[in-house]
């Protein structure tokens, strides 16, 4: 039996700005099971970060506000939990790492100080014991000269080392779930490979669930069991990594996969989705992808597609699912296009 650790249901996180209300996250539901690695992919501005920040109520407020939905951690409602309870969970049971590790480390304190404190907030152990554990964690994430690095300040480390320190801090308390928002986007590929390896190891050895936010489908293939594809504040497709990458259903997912140059394939003409990612706004009528979709038809302009089920945990927010005849035409067109 799979056990849901994190269950986000119909999340609505909006920003109230001078230019009006922005529904950055508009009805997102995501479940992460114990020990599972779930990816959220999508292009910039589609709401990945706001979704992840909402979980721990870290959305800057104002202008941001969670205006609807529920977030449950092991059955406990986080949106109604006390501040103290959230603080307790944060870092202890749910850890987060962000894209730019410099902004999440305090420049005024040594690395040792910061890891030690992170451990001691959640575990009642002596300073000495915490130091020992800190060094152990730094070694585990592959920091050379761990004892010396304990006395270094963040600016003395490279970007890759800082990110490894962040992971060490995030992992120090052996959380149930690690939320990683583009943890390798700012890093070089050889360093990214180190970090991804490390995260896979932690997932295997400690059974830590991971919610991996990325725009890189390569990273998804490398580490994720299941994938959520977001577009304009909504989930548009969901399935196992294999289903999404090998047999995508939604026209946006299909287009995205065909748009990336592939290292392992011989020269191909790149497909490109026309137009650009729309800014989220209230009161959109019809499918949010309609202006860029080559299969858009009447219904796409008048109604908003729901997340149709394709069996098991597969979903796709597209009317074609509901309309077998058109679906056949779409598949045929896609085949011609990819030849």
């Amino acid at each position: 039996m799979t056990e849901a650790i994190l269950k986000i249901t119909d999340l609505q996180t909006h920003f109230f700005t001078d230019n009006g209300e922005i529904p950055a996250v508009d009805g997102v539901s995501i479940t992460v099971n114990k020990g599972e690695v779930v990816g959220i992919v999508g292009e910039s501005g589609c709401g990945k970060s706001v979704t992840s920040l909402s979980i721990m109520q870290l959305v800057p407020s104002p202008p941001g506000k969670i205006v609807g939905g529920a977030i449950q951690y092991k059955g406990e409602d986080l949106l109604t939990a006390s501040k103290k309870r959230i603080k307790d969970i944060r870092g202890n049971e749910i850890s987060m790492i962000f894209q730019e590790p410099m902004t999440s480390l305090d420049p005024l304190f040594t690395i040792g100080n910061q890891i030690r404190e992170a451990i001691r907030i959640h575990q009642k152990i002596s300073k000495k014991e915490a130091s020992r554990k800190s060094i152990e964690m730094l070694k585990l994430v592959g920091i050379p000269r761990a004892e010396e690095v304990m006395n270094d300040y963040p600016h003395q480390l490279s970007g890759g080392m800082r990110q490894r320190v962040m992971i060490a801090i995030a992992m120090a308390c052996e959380p149930e779930i690690l939320i990683a928002d583009e943890p390798t986007t700012a890093l070089d590929v050889t360093i990214q490979a180190q970090i991804l390896d490390l995260m896979k190891k932690l997932n295997k050895e400690k059974n830590t669930a991971i919610l991996m936010i990325t725009h890189d489908l390569g990273v998804v293939a490398d580490i994720c069991d299941r994938v959520i594809v977001m577009y304009a504040g909504q989930v548009v497709e969901e399935g196992t990594t294999r289903e999404i990458l090998k047999d995508p259903s939604h026209p946006y997912t299909k287009g995205l996969i065909r748009s990336i140059p592939k290292l392992h394939e011989k020269d191909q003409k790149l497909y490109s989705i026309p137009g650009t990612v729309p800014k989220p706004k209230l009161g959109v009528v019809g499918c949010r992808f309609k202006d860029r979709c080559e299969f858009a038809h009447d219904r796409c302009f008048s109604d908003s597609p729901e997340l149709f089920s394709l069996g098991n945990s597969r979903h796709s927010r597209c009317f074609l699912i509901d309309d077998p005849e058109r679906k056949v035409a779409q598949d045929a067109a896609a085949n011609i296009g990819s030849q």
């Binding site: 090998k246 592939k262 392992h264 990612v277």
Partner: protein, 325 residues
Amino acid sequence: MQQPILEVNNLKKYFDIRGGVFGKKVGEVKAVDDVSFSVNPGEILGIVGESGCGKSTTGKSILRLIEPSDGEVKFEGQDITKLNAESMRKLRRDMQIIFQDPYASLNPRHTVEKIISEPLLIHGMSKQERKSRVKELLEVVGLSSYHASRYPHQFSGGQRQRIGIARALANNPKLIICDEPVSALDVSVQSQILNLMEGLRDQFNLTYIFIAHDLSVVKHISDRVGVMYLGRLVELTDKDSLYDDPKHPYTKALLSAVPLPDPDIEKERIILEGDVPSPSNPPTGCAFHTRCPMAMEICKNIRPNFEQVEVNHFVACHLYNGAEQ
């Protein structure tokens, strides 16, 4: 044999590191350290490497946007490193650059019209001629003439990159150095710009030096690819040889590190230890020896030469050097 449009010989750029109250020179960063390559007309030469390895400095030194410390840059047979400012300005019509962040390189207070027509001023074109040229250029890059009166902030990242490209094209250049032109763009927009750039190359018979850190993008667009590490070229060959038969241990590690968007491909990943060393204090011998899984005793002391080990396949590594003799 075809005469290369650009020939770079032993290019070096060292930046001084200054410190102390009097700003005395306390060291130097060897950002580009003895780089040589040539580019044929109509070719796209890709340059890849990790952050800080000297890609942008190479590109800027070629155009003399920063002055090279040493070496030769021959454009159509002429060494341009010695040209005076006036001759250089004339030559810049033929050699253009496009940057990663189109926003930073477009004046926010100027209209698109003004931005694109600025390079045309040296021609003594009439206002009307310039206007129609701007309109033509906007259409070439997939924008519309009504965009001419707008300001950069009114465009998306991809559109701004199109404006940067239109400006670079204004004087019908022969060579364009593209420094990470799609790195800041979303995947769906990136493919639009890549396709546009490929089309323009064919349409106007352009030559590109295409700098990027994304190996898949570079492979897609380039004819030949050079790999840089710590200010030096370590491997240079045509793209299929590079991706099918990489020789330098760094190239192998770099290629193996790229995660592929295909769950069926299980690849052996070479995980490199540690980080790229600082270019202000590069390792002795082969600069890669501190991270190289194949390092030998000789690598610590003697720098391998950049040599041709197969037809059109250049490598700087003791595993291959001397193999031909």
